[in-house]
Symmetry: none
Subunit: 229 residues, 4 copies
């Protein structure tokens, strides 16, 4: 009769741990993202990150040299794929500029707003003072690329006479901000508040697009801003 401590034959024998080098970084990043977004950088304990990823604290250090390192990896690695997928999606379209604008806003929401990216944005905004190079990275890789995408759509529309000329740089800020703000809000204040008079996202997007197209509509003939359908 085998002692229970010495591996008895016939038991599935659950090993104390598993060797999953390939999968670990992603799992850690994932766990870290959740916690960073939920608690912020400082209030997130590496113990918790490790626990959530199902590993020990030491394991974390096999993949990321420090908390700061992990944080940067979380930001960088979660952002780039999203951005690239988004750019791909927008680039494929060959609709009219007005349709493309609609695409842009809807895609933006499903690619960013509805993901965990706003949580990252919240982090970066909050920690910009402590991690300036992260802020720069974010500005370069997210904000500017995003703005360039919108800019190209607007410029195309103007070039083709579909839109009237506008102050494009100002428009970029004015028209992306509502999306970003709404997304940020849903990841910070909103969850804490009693359900108020929130506008559903579809209505929000539709109204936004409506105004944007209205602002871009040629003025030649009187009387119509922003009509889509």
């Amino acid at each position: 009769m085998p002692s229970p401590a010495s591996s008895p034959a016939g038991r599935p024998r659950s090993p104390r741990w598993e060797r999953r080098k390939g999968a670990r970084p992603g799992e850690l990043l994932d766990a870290a993202l959740d916690l960073f977004v939920e608690k912020g950088y400082a209030a997130t304990r590496l113990d918790d990150v490790a626990a959530r990823a199902g590993v020990s604290k030491g394991t974390l250090y096999l993949y990321y040299a420090s908390k700061e390192d992990l944080f940067k990896a979380v930001v960088r690695q979660n952002i780039v794929p999203l951005i690239e997928a988004f750019e791909r999606d927008v680039a494929q379209s060959n609709a009219t500029s007005a349709e493309l604008l609609g695409e842009f806003f809807r895609q933006w929401w499903s690619s960013f707003g509805a993901t965990r990216l706003p949580g990252i944005a919240k982090l970066v905004v909050g920690e910009a003072g402590n991690f300036p190079e992260l802020a720069r990275f974010f500005q370069q890789e997210v904000v500017l690329r995003n703005a360039m995408l919108l800019r190209s759509i607007i410029e195309r529309g103007i070039r083709q006479g579909e839109f009237r000329p506008v102050d494009i740089d100002a428009c970029l800020h004015l028209w992306i901000s509502p999306m970003v703000m709404r997304a940020l809000w849903e990841h910070s204040i909103l969850p804490c508040c009693p359900p108020g008079l929130e506008v559903p996202i579809e209505r929000f997007l539709a109204t936004h697009l409506d105004f944007v197209l209205g602002a871009l509509a040629p003025r030649a003939q009187p009387g119509q801003s922003g009509r889509v359908s």
Copy 2:
């Protein structure tokens, strides 16, 4: 009869350290605000707050029972005066609704955007998960009051036929967000980045107002945008 703490006219000039006792809480709040905004909640050390306020660490605890307490006081006490002043300013005007809208945005910027309030907003957004009641307070006392103010202007304009009917709730989000976002940005990402293609605030505001008024302009013929439901 003036309270001895609030500088009463006609009192013989008291030496600085005599006024201090009354002034202490404000000085501490001020120092704390600066540091919280600059470094975030967790990364701010009470040592530094005390040092910046020119008192010892122990003194801080005579006025605020804990770091959390201080944080909440910073948020609450810096916000309410701003909000009230803003409401007063807007209420005094008796211009047309369109002019009032312009007032609203310009006032908003000078009363909020150009102050340290966006820094507080950044804090609240970032720490909402850790201080939910602060988030609720902020939502109630800042976001909603602000929205109500804008709402009242729009409603007045619609009622008086100066504006066409729009989806007001959506508009509140859409038209306040760019202001907030711009203000947040200037307090987080922007200071870290090389000077890029920023739009000056005047141009920003002017374009914004332009679009808003365009969206609200009554239509000669039917078939307008911005449906209500």
Copy 3:
């Protein structure tokens, strides 16, 4: 009957801690010296140092910024007073050079060998690779100053014809080493070993002095040892 927890009247009331800013650094240094010498740098825990000094771990950091800092302070602050006292003692004498040499060795032993300095020397020797600037400091402030003292005695004796010319630089090494070695030994290997055939320190010193004076004694006839170059 007062609860034992609430300070009952009439008890001397031992405070949880005492405020002794002036005395603390010395006490900490003292405790640290003991432990560093006993266990070596790495094996000494700051918890233990603090405990031995009768304070909490945090207190230690009020006075020394890091373990390394504490270590350096231990070495520097324990060494300089010893060296200076020693130099003073030797300088005061106005005996013959031979007598002065005897003084030198006896003083050396009572000022250094019999103190905790050899323990520090052991530390510095062992950690030279990890703390090179400490090694340099030790070389400058202890080794060289010591050697200079002995050199001045020998040179005086030679100048006055009391000693014969010798290779002074070599002598410095040859004649100080036995003292240092013996002192090191007593602080490292010896305490671990069964009492063996150790030579009492007086006999050790006497024999040493005997040989040194013999080597320095002028020769009646030519053909002597200890060339100069």
Copy 4:
């Protein structure tokens, strides 16, 4: 039939990795010695030892059960061969006692001083408190055997009338210490210091021998060295 591990003459040259199994322990010991001497016991990481030996960390544990074990093996296995070779060398000579003494010092330097043994001595001295049995081993196998060798030479010289009687036990300390000290120095303080007024080793040894022989010279005729009272 030669064991496959010990390189037998006449075997066809085996590829490196085939010889490895037998060589592993030695390679590990070698790597460990270097690192222990350079950094000290605690500051040496087994990762680094394994890496320097070109194996994985796990492999190290196939040969040594723990860091302590490895450390002891490093000390023991590096010392004994050196000591034995040295004893053999000295035993073979049949010169006069004076010549033998010269041999002893010169051999000592080339066999010990110029090897990594002083590094080990430094280690043992520094870690004596933490590894007392190692200190005892060192005392027995190095210090005492060494002293016995010197003692036998001196005794022989005295017995044969070549040397005058002296306090042998004291002499052992006095005459070995300079060698040890010089060797220790070269492995600790010296590498950290700007090149100072160091005496070349040959001059050092020559002067040392000179003094030793002077102290041992018979006193028959007046006017020789080593005179005190």
